[in-house]
Amino acid sequence: MINTTPVRKSITVDADQKRAFDFFTARHATWWPSTYHIGSSDYEAAVIEPFAGGRWFERGVDGAEADWGKVLVWEPPERLVLAWQITPDFQFDPELVTEIEVRFEPIGPNQTRVDLEHRYFDRFGERAAEMRAIFDSGGVPGAPQGWAGILREFAAAVTHPRAR
């Protein structure tokens, strides 16, 4: 059975709601795990433009930009919806729209719960034929991780759990 239920993650941070939202967006580059990027040059920064319709993209050290998606809903300091438009072969596709909704809920004077939901995975399925080709080929040359890479990563994580 194929699981297309949303990915949901929650975390509580010691920051008020406004700071939590601002840090998530305006300072996106400071916390984004730098290994997760699709550009051909080394990752320098990730940017969320602060308005509905804004771009969500990465900038490489050489200044080249690569789109990840866009801002669908911009409601500071409560809510943010981003479109993730990266295919499983790590290409930007304007036709693909999966959604990431992030809600910032104050739970104390200096505490905010951040709920993230990444949904509509079934839309990846519409590209099944291409994905199958990638799977069979063991990955796309130059892509950071093809399917085989993903499987290897999982396997390595299971076989050699990181000590932390």
């Binding site: 949901r8 998530f24 916390w31 499987l151």
Partner: protein
């Protein structure tokens, strides 16, 4: 941390050398159980059991081909990409929490 079961099933499925070997064999295309068994140093009942686990994790699917069942890698692979994104967001939010809280202190 909601929805742990699917990711757990995937990690469990991949946490076994024989199952990873089966996935490797299937990368070239669909195979019947007998052919998978012939390529691996384990018996058919064991292979069938491993295939059941891989199927439940959404990594392979089965199709009937005449009298034989052939197994193939899940063509959509949504389960794997979903689990990958699950890991990405878990790591990203942890890093976000660390960054926002360190910023307050400094």
């Amino acid at each position: 941390m909601m929805q742990p079961s699917a990711t757990d099933a995937l990690f469990d499925a991949l946490g076994d050398g024989t199952r990873r070997a089966i996935l490797e064999q299937l990368r070239a295309g669909p195979l019947p159980v007998v052919e998978i068994t012939r390529r691996l140093p384990v018996g058919r009942p064991a292979v069938s059991q491993h295939l059941k686990v891989l199927k439940e994790a959404g990594l392979v699917s089965a199709q009937q081909d005449g009298t034989r069942r052939r197994y193939q890698l899940d063509p959509a692979g949504i389960t794997a990409v979903r689990a990958w994104l699950d890991g990405l967001w878990g790591q990203a939010l942890d890093a976000y929490k660390t960054a926002v809280e360190q910023d307050r202190v400094s």
